[in-house]
Structures are given as structure tokens and as C-alpha cells.
């Protein structure tokens, strides 16, 4: 019983420390993460992913078009694992960085830290979140280039 409580507490603390399920789809990893960080499906809601996937030929200004089969498989993976709750709440855009929760979490990051060449933009998760590829955005794992640990 004690163990179960501990596990539950641990589970809850991880959930609140900014963790999402890691990417576990090889096709998504290959097709999407060849150009940018492989954003976990939980970072956008179902409606946002549907919007993203219907307009891949103009994907934030670049052509990221896919074949029909690949596109359908990836859409299926994304909507099945799409986010809900605080991470995606009130985000009607196709950009993770436009989510009110995301904006709140990054409000103290000054423009010079974002614009420096090692980072470039807030869309470059791995530049500071050293364990982002594992789905962990924990504050303990943040190391900002030319600044150091955030915590």
C-alpha cells in the first residue's frame, strides 16, 4: 500500500514536472523529425494536428508534403495520441509555441537567450530542454546555452 502511494505520488509529480509520452512511431520520427525536433503528439490537440496535416505543402512556409499513405498513418498516430488539458487548452492555432500554457511557462526567458544562434527560436526544444526527446521537459533538465541551468 505504501509502495502504491509512493508510486502514485511519483507518477503525479512526474506529470506535473512537464512530462509527455515520448514519440514511439518510427514513421513520424522519420518523416517529421528529419527537419525539426520530433514534437510529441501530446503538445497539440486533435483539431490542431488535423489542421497541420491538411496543409503540409505549406508547412510554416516550406513544402513538407507527404504521400497519401504516409500522411494518413501519421495523422492517425497524432490524433490518437493528441494532447488535452492544460498543455493544449485554448490553443486553436497549429503552433505549440502559441499555447497559453507554453507562453506562461516561457515568460521569463529573455529574447537574447532565444535569439542566440545556439537556440534560434522557442520551437527548438532540445536547445535547452536536454531531455525533450524523451518527453521530459522537467526544470531540472533545463540548460540554456550561455546561461546555464535554469533551476
Amino acid at each position: 500500500m505504501k509502495k502504491l502511494l509512493l508510486m502514485t505520488a511519483l507518477g503525479l509529480s512526474v506529470a506535473f514536472a512537464g512530462s509527455v509520452a515520448p514519440v514511439n512511431n518510427a514513421l513520424y520520427q522519420k518523416e517529421c523529425a528529419s527537419c525539426h525536433f520530433g514534437y510529441q503528439p501530446a503538445l497539440l490537440n486533435k483539431a490542431s494536428w488535423e489542421k497541420v496535416m491538411t496543409n503540409l505543402s505549406d508547412h510554416f512556409g516550406t513544402d513538407a508534403s507527404l504521400g497519401k499513405v504516409e500522411s494518413e498513418q501519421i495523422l492517425n498516430y497524432l490524433v490518437t495520441n493528441a494532447g488535452s488539458g492544460k498543455i493544449t487548452a485554448n490553443n486553436t492555432t497549429t503552433q505549440i509555441t502559441k499555447s497559453p500554457y507554453f507562453i506562461k511557462e516561457h515568460r521569463k526567458i529573455t529574447p537574447n537567450l532565444i535569439e542566440q544562434k545556439e537556440v534560434g527560436s522557442l520551437a527548438n526544444c532540445m536547445a535547452c530542454h536536454t531531455t525533450a526527446d524523451k518527453g521530459s521537459y522537467s526544470e531540472r533538465a533545463i540548460v540554456i546555452p550561455n546561461y546555464g541551468r535554469w533551476e
Binding site: 527537419c35 516550406t62 513544402d63 508534403s65 534560434g120
Partner: protein, 138 residues
């Protein structure tokens, strides 16, 4: 005589060229037929023309001036970097990256995307054949 000389020169060029695998050869033949159908005077793909195309600057899909080199760097044996996301791109030259130009579906996908990004239109059969002939020899 002129014809014989032409053949010898062609044979010499080909013997120096890196080989495409069978599916890629079939794809190149398709491009070849398409280029010939468009221009009856077409005599074959040319690495030099492909190189010029690779380095040429255009107003891209985003409205800014760019070339293939913008992301792939001007040394194909070295990797490049995605101009929008900073994500590294592995080397294009098959001599250092054996997986390049081996998968027809991948080649078609990236030619479609990258011509659109750099030229704001799809590539012609001539352009695609030339640029692949340039890259395979790198």
C-alpha cells in the same frame, strides 16, 4: 567519326560516374524519356548543369533569396543545416553517405519539396536529372 568520338567521350564520362542502383537507374531513364519528349535535341543529363543549378539563387517559397546550398552547404561532402530550424542535415555526397540517392521514393519526395522551397515551383525532368547526375558524382 564525330559520332564515334561522341560515344567514346560518353563512355569515358560514364565510366567515371558513380553508379545508381537498379531502381534509381529506372527512375533516371524515366526522367531521360521525359526530357527527350520535351526537347528532341536533348542529349543527356549533365553534372555541370546540375552543379550550376544547385548553386543558383532564386526567390523561394518564403519570398527570400536562397539556393540548394543555403541548407546543404557548398561542400556536399559535409553536412548542412536546415535554415528554418537549425537541424543538422547529413551530407548529400554518396561518396561519404552511402544511403543518399538509393531510394526512389525519398529522392522524389525531397526533389518535390526542395524545388518548391527554393524555386517556388516543381523541377523539370531536365533539372532533376541534371542535379541528380551532379550529386551522384560527389
Amino acid at each position: 567519326m564525330k559520332k564515334t568520338l561522341c560515344f567514346i567521350l560518353l563512355a569515358l564520362t560514364l565510366s567515371h560516374a558513380k553508379e545508381f542502383n537498379a531502381p534509381m537507374k529506372a527512375y533516371m531513364e524515366g526522367l531521360n524519356a521525359e526530357a527527350k519528349a520535351t526537347n528532341p535535341n536533348f542529349t543527356g543529363f549533365d553534372a555541370k548543369r546540375g552543379e550550376a543549378l544547385f548553386f543558383s539563387k532564386h526567390t523561394g517559397k518564403k519570398g527570400t533569396e536562397m539556393s540548394c546550398v543555403t541548407c546543404h552547404s557548398n561542400d556536399l561532402k559535409k553536412g548542412g543545416q536546415n535554415i528554418n530550424t537549425n537541424k543538422p542535415i547529413t551530407a548529400l555526397a554518396p561518396s561519404v553517405n552511402a544511403t543518399r540517392l538509393t531510394d526512389v521514393a525519398e529522392v522524389e519526395k525531397w526533389l518535390r519539396r526542395n524545388f518548391n522551397d527554393v524555386f517556388a515551383r516543381e523541377g523539370t525532368a531536365l533539372e532533376k536529372g541534371d542535379v541528380l547526375t551532379y550529386i551522384i558524382n560527389q
